[in-house]
């Protein structure tokens, strides 16, 4: 048996290395799926929440939209207002005891993280939409686009670019917070670490390794997302055509019918 701290660290890595790796893999899978699915949920929610009906819409459509908006508000408030660890318990054991559904822990994990992320991103996406000039929506309306078309073709592409830093932040939060899913026995990094630590009663050494792994994960993701962000906002240099000395943009007149 090792006698020093680093001796123990080396020993535990050799003994449980693949456990840490598998745990890290599950953590990344949950965080990745949860962030992407949560983001998709929230984009959909944002489209509904920003919808305005035209003057000619009947009472049925008005009522349906109002009901949908109310339900989405409830969803956002409830999932933002309760801890994810509690949501995991409620979903997993609720499904089991009241619906008779023995859903796999991983399925419950995906569901909880996605839905939770969706609720958190509500305000982020709303902020992103507000950051897009109102004239963009008016112009889309003025060329005959529906609300859905204007949102998907014009508004959200611009909003998403603006909120990429916050989405990356949410991804990092998910990598870390998915650790609470150990309460429903999801074999993510924290759960694996706890198992490894128990065997030799070496909690400090194991969780030292665990924290290094978490940090490597979040740091890598942050750097990668920075690259994606730069891609989305386009190159730093571009040609400005609108100068007085640039002549090709002459107006051909007269306009033929």
């Amino acid at each position: 048996m090792p006698t020093t701290f680093f001796g123990w660290v080396a020993f535990l890595i050799a003994r449980y290395g693949d456990l840490f790796l598998r745990g890290a893999g599950v953590t990344m899978l949950i965080a990745g799926v949860g962030t992407v699915a949560g983001f998709a949920i929230e984009l959909g929610v944002a489209i509904v929440r920003t919808a305005r009906l035209s003057a000619g819409a009947g009472p049925l459509r008005r009522g349906a939209l109002a009901a949908a908006k109310a339900m989405l508000s409830v969803y956002i408030e409830v999932f933002r207002g309760t801890p994810m660890i509690v949501q995991a318990m409620v979903v997993y054991y609720g499904a089991l005891e009241y619906l008779g559904l023995d859903i796999p822990a991983m399925a419950a994990a995906f569901l909880v993280v996605s839905v939770n992320t969706g609720a958190y991103m509500a305000e982020i996406v709303r902020g992103g939409i507000l950051s897009v000039d109102a004239g963009q929506k008016e112009a889309a309306t003025a060329v005959g686009m529906t609300h859905w078309q204007a949102m998907t073709a014009v508004i959200l592409p611009q909003a998403v670019r603006n909120i990429m830093p916050s989405v990356g932040n949410e991804f990092v939060v998910n990598i870390k917070d998915s650790s609470v899913l150990n309460v429903i026995s999801v074999t993510e990094l924290y759960f694996m670490s706890k198992s490894a630590a128990g065997t030799y009663w070496k909690y400090f050494e194991v969780f030292f390794i665990t924290s290094v792994v978490y940090f490597v994960l979040t740091f890598t993701v942050t750097r990668l997302l920075r690259l994606v962000e730069r891609r989305l906002s386009g190159g730093d240099s571009y040609t400005v055509y609108g100068s007085q000395s640039h002549t090709p943009a002459e107006i051909k007149v007269p306009l033929a019918p």
Binding site: A139, A140, T146, T239, G242, A249, I251, V253, A256
Partner: protein
Amino acid sequence: MEEMIRIERLEKRFGNNPPVLRGIDLAFQQGEAACIIGPSGSGKSTLLRCINLLERPSAGRVLYRGQDVALLPPQVLHARVGMVFQQFNLFENMSALNNCVAGQRKALGRSRHDSEQKALYYLEQVGMLPYRDARPRQLSGGQKQRVAIARALCMDPDVLLFDEPTSALDPEMVDEVLRVMADLRQRGLTMLIVTHEMAFARDAADRVIFMDEGLVVEDGPPGQLFTAPQNARTAAFLARSLRG
């Protein structure tokens, strides 16, 4: 001559504020180029925005070819009655070409090929063909506005609304946009132009409407309105504007 737009007792107020429009009655014939002038806050832009329902009128109604615009499907209304904005409002996430294509594809359901052909045609007409792939942020104000005009024309509108199309432009770029607009007049397009360009209103419009405090004060051919205004307020406004 068919009547394209008729406005009946149109009123608009925002919240509990005093009304911006206080009963407007106007009619526009096919092919007419009408300039709407007046001091800031007189309701010119609001009037224009009520015609294509970017604002909902508080009272009264607007007819497009005899049909109440509030009852028309919004996509149909917006394809037939186009708009050019003061701030251009080009779609920032799209090239000049796609700015002209998007509306045709989405609202008119045209094929990509047909949409592009039409877009290229109009981009050439406004002299922006060399910049078909440019993003809005690469273009000057005048160029953006020319693309915006091409985008509106691609929808084959009957009526085009211009909301202060040159007010956000540097002086040297105003002329290029006004030239394009003067040429459009030859095509039989009905044009309603809110503008502060008095020389353009005088030289290129069939009709000039002076608005003040939410009402139409004077309405007539430019020759009459500019040389012999019937109303004291019109005369005072023109004296101030033309001096500048």
